[in-house]
């Protein structure tokens, strides 16, 4: 009997604290509150802001130009003139790393912008229209998700020519499938909600409903997906450079710097260690940041 009594006993309801009340009011505020609790994510955020500033002002801050050669200092180890040492052509490694990160971040942001446009448009059309349109778009998405799209990146860059713009284009055109699927799923859930019905009753057009009612409500997951996409794009860009198919030399890229470092590792370890470490650090920062965002926007996902 005691068991039954417990079952039907009213749970005592605590009044909400002021903070909790605020959290319930504002989606973005609540997300920020949750994000702040993840210490790694916050540190990563600061790190990323620093990186962005460095990337923007690289031409002003970098001690040398990325292609400037000082043959008398070729292979020199880290010293007061070249803080991270110099490579086989006497080019300052620190400057080259700074330009490499600038390129990588440009590729990351640029390609994700392209992914955003393609993915959101196709995803929302598929989700909103449904039926045959949905089926065709989703078939393409399925194929792209199970296909090693990196191969197409390489083919596209081989065909279009090597350069920053073509790499951004190649990554953007090939990697939108995940976002399209996400947006489609969100919109399929939302499109039958009451507020959408109400908008339709007033006589809103489809495109208006998608833009003003559906997309703002899927913004959280879209941001998370893009945050994960940035390190992914950086990965692809340096991967291509590593294989010798990325940015044309003398333009530095992490992949290229690492590839060069591998060849000279035994004699001059600093040529590999600095690029590899900084590359790993940047990728980790972006991933921790994206992880934090995911937990912030989707509190149920904490396992």
């Amino acid at each position: 009997m005691n068991f039954l009594k417990n079952l039907f006993k009213k749970r005592d309801i605590k009044p909400l604290t002021e903070e909790e009340l605020l959290m319930r009011q504002n989606y973005w505020f609540a997300a920020w509150q949750r994000f702040k609790k993840n210490r790694m994510a916050v540190i990563s955020l600061y790190f990323i802001i620093l990186l962005l500033l460095l990337a923007i002002f690289t031409p002003l801050i970098a001690p040398y130009h990325y292609a400037e050669q000082h043959y008398e200092y070729a292979f020199s180890r880290p010293n007061s003139k070249f803080w991270f040492g110099a490579d086989d052509n006497g080019r300052d490694l620190l400057s080259r790393l700074m330009y490499a990160s600038r390129n990588a971040i440009t590729v990351g942001l640029g390609s994700q912008f392209l992914v955003l446009i393609i993915g959101v448009i196709l995803g929302s059309i598929a989700g909103f229209r449904g039926g045959r349109t949905d089926m065709i778009i989703m078939r393409v998405v399925d194929v792209m998700l199970s296909f090693p799209t990196f191969l197409f990146n390489i083919i596209l860059v081989t065909v279009l020519g090597r350069g920053l713009l073509t790499i951004i284009l190649a990554i953007g055109v090939v990697n939108w499938a995940g976002l399209a699927r996400l947006v489609r799923g969100q919109i399929m859930v939302l499109k039958n909600a009451d507020f959408v019905e109400a908008a339709r009753a007033i006589g809103a057009k489809d495109s208006h409903i998608i833009r003003k009612y559906l997309l703002p409500n899927t913004l959280g997951p879209i941001i998370v997906s893009m945050a994960f996409g940035i390190p992914g794009a950086i990965w692809i860009e340096s991967g291509m450079s590593f294989l010798g198919m990325g940015l044309p030399p003398p333009m530095p890229s992490w992949g290229d710097l690492i590839g060069q470092g591998v060849a000279k590792f035994l004699g001059y370890p600093h040529l590999l260690i600095w690029p590899a470490l900084s590359f790993a650090l940047v990728l980790l920062a972006f991933t921790f940041f994206a992880d934090g965002l995911q937990d912030a926007f989707n509190p149920k996902s904490e396992v």
């Binding site: 194929v143 296909f147 090693p148 390489i154 083919i155 294989l243 198919m245 590792f265 790993a280």
Partner: protein, 319 residues
């Protein structure tokens, strides 16, 4: 009966996607400025023997005839598609003497071995790691394994491979650095290639098992007096293993991409290396063919994974 229809449908999808992939690759290469002829043949031949313009034109025409480049694009695509499904690809640009199918026959087993070994490694190590992390949740074991798998997932395989080579081959001189000549040569490539998939599986396994442990039937099992071991291994684990099959599909695609780097770095004569060389030399027949074979490989593996998933999940079996 349902199963046969499912398989046939999937094979149909595979064929359609392969045709699309071939067509897109072909069109892209057709759009590319500068063809193979004026990149290599023309320049070297013209420089070395001072050919006249007419002789070069004749050479170019012969070259185009040999590879069917003088035909309209749609005919080329159609012909290649038919050839592709019969596995007859003819000679490549850069090696006119050998047929592409003989090169692939040489390299495909290497790639398949590398991929399958890496998947096995990822499953055999990743699943137990995930289980341990889930059972020791929020202890240092959990944090350590999950931190490690975070690194494994984020840091590109070619960076990790470099450090593995440094530790195992250069410092301790235990394993060879490059080549593909027996089990000793396989250790490092398989380890580095499987690491990313392993990390993904470990993280997913942990989440999946924790999710299972929170289900109602677990509470029921405990209420019936089941011991920890009986409940976890008899009920929770079984159900949390099934979703692993769903992430294996995308992981296979990642793995094949990773293989391109690993084969490049360890100088393994596999499909990925063939692809990279073809792209570097703008050897278009070889490029299309290796893309085609790699896609076919991924799609067949995906089909196998889906079939395994169907057999594992009783809900699918009933239908």
């Amino acid at each position: 009966m349902n199963l046969i229809i499912f398989i046939l449908k999937r094979i149909g999808t595979i064929v359609i996607s392969l045709v699309c992939i071939i067509a897109i690759t072909y069109i892209l290469m057709w759009l590319a400025p500068g063809n193979f002829f004026d990149i290599q043949r023309f320049s070297t031949a013209a420089q070395s023997s001072q050919l006249t313009a007419e002789q070069v034109a004749i050479l170019q025409r012969k070259f185009e005839e040999k590879y069917g480049l003088n035909q309209p694009l749609w005919k080329q695509i159609l012909r290649f598609t038919f050839d592709a499904f019969r596995f007859k690809f003819g000679p490549s640009f850069s090696n006119p003497v050998r047929t592409i199918e003989s090169m692939i026959a040489e390299r495909f087993p290497v790639s398949l071995t590398l991929t399958l070994l890496s998947i096995s490694f990822a499953l055999i190590v990743g699943i137990p790691l995930g289980i341990i992390a889930a059972l020791k949740r929020n202890t240092w074991i959990d944090y350590f394994t999950m931190g490690l798998s975070m690194f494994g997932q984020v840091i590109p395989s070619f960076v990790i491979a470099v450090f593995f080579v440094f530790i195992f081959s250069v410092q301790f001189r235990l394993l060879p650095t490059t080549g593909w000549d027996g089990p000793r040569y396989m250790v490092l490539p398989v380890l580095t290639l499987g690491l990313m998939t392993m990390s993904g599986i470990a993280r997913f396994m942990r989440a999946s098992l924790l999710d299972s442990l929170r289900q109602d039937y677990i509470r029921t099992a405990y209420a019936k007096g089941g011991t920890d071991r009986a409940v976890i291994f008899g009920h929770a684990l079984k159900n949390s293993l099934i979703p692993i099959a769903t992430i294996l599909g995308p992981q296979i695609a990642y793995l094949l991409v990773g293989a391109v780097f690993i084969e490049y770095l360890f100088r393994i004569p596999g499909m990925g290396q063939l692809f990279v060389n073809a792209a570097g030399a703008r050897d278009y027949p070889l490029l299309v063919t290796s893309t085609y074979v790699l896609s076919l490989m991924v799609m067949i593996m995906n089909l196998i994974v889906d079939l395994i998933y169907m057999f594992l999940d009783p809900r699918n079996r009933v239908k």
